[in-house]
């Protein structure tokens, strides 16, 4: 069932011209998750060669209702959120609210090495899709993604990107003192949780293949964020160690730090610069090629904190930056080993010739939508290339084929379709 193609990455071609074998060839995943976190986890598996059978509710994964839309035209097959998160998957529509739909599910579970579930606990109990119920059907790994786990006072509470980062992540210290704390862009926190679930899923695959066991694996989104390395687990440990609480600063960027540290403007946008006292400062000054900043007082860290130092820096720095573009400055910085980078918008990233040449963007062929660009591989594997073998599935595109594989004949599939149990 799993087909592998040649990879397109710069180091993607396997040695010796042999047929590339996908890293996760032979792993079958039955995916009952929806929206963002769960589908991202199974996308990571699918893009490395696992076969992922996605179970969608009648009407489809709610992610199909989220943009951006291809050509700004809404439609359940045109959702950017869905197209990105569901590459290389098959779509089977099952109504798990019906007994007939659940009976079909019970025949699909034994096909899988790993079942991934994401319904809220109360819903899973109603639909008989709890990890226990599924593991009674067959001896398979079941990975459960929940908002808050299966026990505890918040068990049945809901989450959004904003609430997840507020409670789990380090929102409290993101932003400025006296103003509201801020979320991250987009749905970054939810997607992060999907990556953690993929680690757990692959752990289960290894445990199965090495020890011959299957098991239940639990990932709660709240827990993933509480232990985010993006200043969250460290902030919590620091509080336990010292009683100090990470909070939002009074000011940020140029106004807050000695030397040059933070976000600065230039001719066509902004740069993140780290050039406080020491080696990073010396490299930065080398980049500016400004003799006055090489005078002896600049080797004294205390001098950096003075208003005079600030004024001298600013007098040189801003005209230099505002006279140059981000890419010009970044190039100069690379030559001097200075630590800075441009702030890219999504359009900058799409237009960037260097990332294009490296193959960051993938052209995907879709049966009905034609060819469109998709954000491509997060990593290059030299022997087992990441690849998009198939665009995200149309709703129910694989229902009949997968049911046939599970032993249903044409008449039975017709009956199930007529009853609305499958679509």
């Amino acid at each position: 069932m799993v087909q592998t193609n040649e990879g397109t990455g710069t180091i993607g071609a396997p040695e010796g011209g042999e047929r590339a074998v996908a890293a996760l060839e032979g792993v079958t995943v039955l995916d009952l998750t929806a929206h963002i976190a769960g589908p991202y986890a199974t996308k990571l598996l699918a893009d490395l060669g696992a076969r992922v059978i996605k179970i969608e509710r009648p009407g489809g994964d709610p992610a199909r209702a989220f943009g951006p839309w291809l050509g700004d035209e809404p439609g359940i097959e045109r959702s950017g959120t869905y197209q990105f998160l569901n590459t290389n998957k098959q779509s089977v529509v099952l109504d798990l609210k019906s007994a007939a739909g659940r009976a079909v599910l019970a025949r699909l579970v034994p096909l899988a090495d790993l079942v991934v579930v994401g319904q809220p606990p109360a819903v899973a109990e109603r639909l008989h899709t709890t990890p226990e119920a599924l593991r009674e059907v067959a001896d398979v790994n079941v990975l459960s993604l929940t908002n808050f786990g299966w026990t505890g006072p918040y068990r049945d509470y809901s989450l959004s990107e904003t609430v997840l980062y507020a409670m789990g992540g380090e929102m409290f210290s993101h932003g400025l003192a006296g103003r509201e704390p801020l979320k991250l862009g987009g749905t970054a926190s939810l997607i992060q949780c999907g990556a953690m679930a993929a680690i757990a899923a692959l752990g289960a695959v290894h445990a199965s293949e090495v020890h011959g066991i299957s098991q239940r694996i639990d990932v709660s989104l709240f827990d993933v964020q509480l232990n985010s390395v993006d200043r969250r687990n460290s902030a919590i440990l620091a509080y336990r160690f010292s009683g100090r609480v990470n909070s939002r600063p009074e000011a940020a960027g140029p106004a807050a730090a000695a030397g040059v540290a933070g976000v600065f403007p230039c001719a066509d946008g902004y740069l993140e610069i780290t050039a406080s006292a020491g080696a990073y400062w010396r490299r930065f000054v080398e980049m500016l090629d400004e003799p006055t900043l090489r005078e002896p007082q600049w080797s004294d860290p205390a001098w950096f904190g003075t208003a005079e130092a600030r004024a001298q820096i600013d007098a040189v720095l801003y005209p230099w930056l505002l006279d140059r573009t981000r890419l010009e400055i970044w190039e100069a910085a690379r030559g001097a080993r200075a630590i800075l980078a441009p702030l890219f918008t999504a359009k900058d990233l799409y237009a960037d010739a260097v990332f294009r040449e490296r193959g960051l963007w993938e052209q995907v062929e879709h049966e009905t939508l034609g060819t469109f660009p998709l954000l491509g591989r997060p990593y290059l594997l030299s022997e087992t290339p990441w690849s998009i073998r198939r665009a995200a599935p149309r709703l129910g595109q694989d229902t009949a084929a997968v049911l046939a594989e599970a032993g249903y004949d044409g008449a039975a599939i017709d009956d199930l379709t007529r009853s609305g149990a499958v679509a």
Binding site: V163, S247, A333, P373
Partner: protein, 438 residues
């Protein structure tokens, strides 16, 4: 009884630094790999074990808490063994020391590579090659090894010499420009390190895939994860809006990129009490309106739909802010959730330790005291397995804690040689005097 560890028998030669690299190997160590940190007592790797090798309490106090909040505010003589920013990414690992820049040290490293299944590095550009550890050399020593590189912008292309930490990589990936207040320029954006978290996890995913392939075929491979490219996948909606519709949204601040409205963070009664509220559907909006007692502003025509509410956000946010301001954050959180509205408190680090739900979760694990820190709850793996023994099995490795294990047990080095390497400063549990400024 077997611990059923997924990566039982896998050894990692770990040159990973900072957060992205060190978390990558930590997840593999959590899953049972024998992860051996290669540490050089003559080299201070920035942002890898602590803010600085010598860190007086007065200096630590000037650092942000996540970086400077050492036990009782005092890092003591070994800041590298108790940094809140880094010690937790050393859980389940072992540490040994060697000066890999000297020939006899490099020989030790090479003998470790010869018995390793994976080698990981994200050192500054050129460092590994300068040590003489290019891919070809590594594969000559161990042909079936998996090599994990995490360059900032790739090992090929014009940006190859680009240097940066998490904040710079976040900048290029598009993270920085998509957050911040809507009424101020990006210059006021504080640093976050979302990409470090994301990259560390993805590097572990790629390594797990490569290790599976290796087990089935006997073949290793080279993984190249360009951190900025990987981090871009945190923002697929923005990326595709740019690619498909030539559009780049700036920051939406606390508004929803998914079109939920209202969606925001509001001040509740008291000091620094913030509540996040998201109406993810028309049903949640109706539930919120009901909960509010259906005041006029909440039931105005047009607000039944998300599109209508999106256009009325300024007004809705102002009304909600007024309404939340006089109420208790935690009561409102529980009441709104019980009423079917997605809401949650902005938990400070202190709040998180006191949260009644988090206290019952497996996310922290008590570890005993060492000479460098007191008994404390440490961050534990964020996943639980019913049959594999996934937890903090060994406490964060102190510098050089496993010298005996690595040199004697793994590498079979005898008494005399061990004593010589120790005398020559390779084997140590502290940094060299020149690093400590003595």
């Amino acid at each position: 009884m077997s611990a059923n560890l997924p990566l039982e028998g896998i050894r990692i030669c770990d040159f990973a630094a900072v957060w992205a690299g060190q978390t990558a190997t930590m997840y593999l160590a959590d899953l049972g790999a024998d992860c051996i940190r290669v540490e050089n007592p003559y080299v201070w790797n920035p942002a890898t074990r602590a803010a600085a090798p010598v860190l007086p309490a007065a200096v630590a106090a000037t650092l942000p808490p996540w970086m400077g909040g050492h036990p009782d505010g005092d890092p003591g003589p070994r800041p590298w063994n108790n940094s809140p920013a880094f010690i937790h990414v050393i859980r389940n690992k072992r540490s040994f020391t060697v000066d890999s820049r000297r020939p006899e040290g490099l020989a030790v490293v090479k003998s470790l590579i010869a018995i390793s299944d994976l080698i990981a590095e994200n050192l500054a550009r050129g460092t590994f090659e300068k040590l003489g550890l290019d891919d070809e050399t590594i594969r000559a020593i161990r042909p079936d090894i998996v090599i994990l590189h995490l360059p900032a912008y790739g090992r090929t292309g014009a940006y190859v010499e680009g240097r940066g930490y998490g904040a710079h990589i976040d900048g290029v990936a598009g993270s920085t420009i998509q957050r911040g207040y809507r009424d101020s320029a990006p210059e006021t954006n504080v640093q976050t390190f979302a990409g470090d978290f994301f990259v560390g996890m993805h590097a572990a995913v790629a390594a797990l895939a490569a290790l599976r392939h290796r087990r089935r075929t006997g073949r290793g491979q080279v993984i190249e994860l360009a951190q900025a490219e990987c981090s871009a996948s945190m923002f697929p909606q923005a990326a595709l809006d740019a690619a498909w519709n030539s559009r780049s949204a700036g920051s939406l601040a606390n508004r929803s990129s998914e079109g939920f409205a209202p969606n925001g963070v509001f001040a509740a009664r008291g000091d620094e009490q913030w509540l996040a509220i998201s109406c993810r559907s028309d049903a949640e909006w109706a539930a919120l309106a009901d909960f509010l007692g259906r005041p006029g502003w909440a039931t105005a025509p047009g607000l039944e739909s998300a599109e209508g509410r999106w256009g009325a956000q300024d007004e809705l946010e102002a009304e909600l802010a007024n309404w939340v301001a006089t109420r208790d954050r935690d009561e409102l959180f529980r009441d709104l959730q019980e009423a079917g509205v997605t809401a949650g408190p902005v938990l400070s680090a202190k709040d998180a330790t006191e949260d009644p739900h988090a206290q019952q979760s497996p996310v922290w694990q008590q570890l005993p005291a060492t000479a460098d820190y007191p008994a404390t709850e440490f961050p534990a793996p964020s996943f639980t397995f019913s049959r594999s023994d996934i937890r903090i099995r060994t406490a964060p490795a102190l510098l050089g804690e496993h010298n005996e294990y690595v040199y004697r047990e793994l590498l079979g080095i005898g008494e005399e040689e061990y004593a010589r390497l120790e005398a020559e400063g390779h084997i140590a549990t502290t940094y060299a005097p020149e690093i400590l400024g003595r």
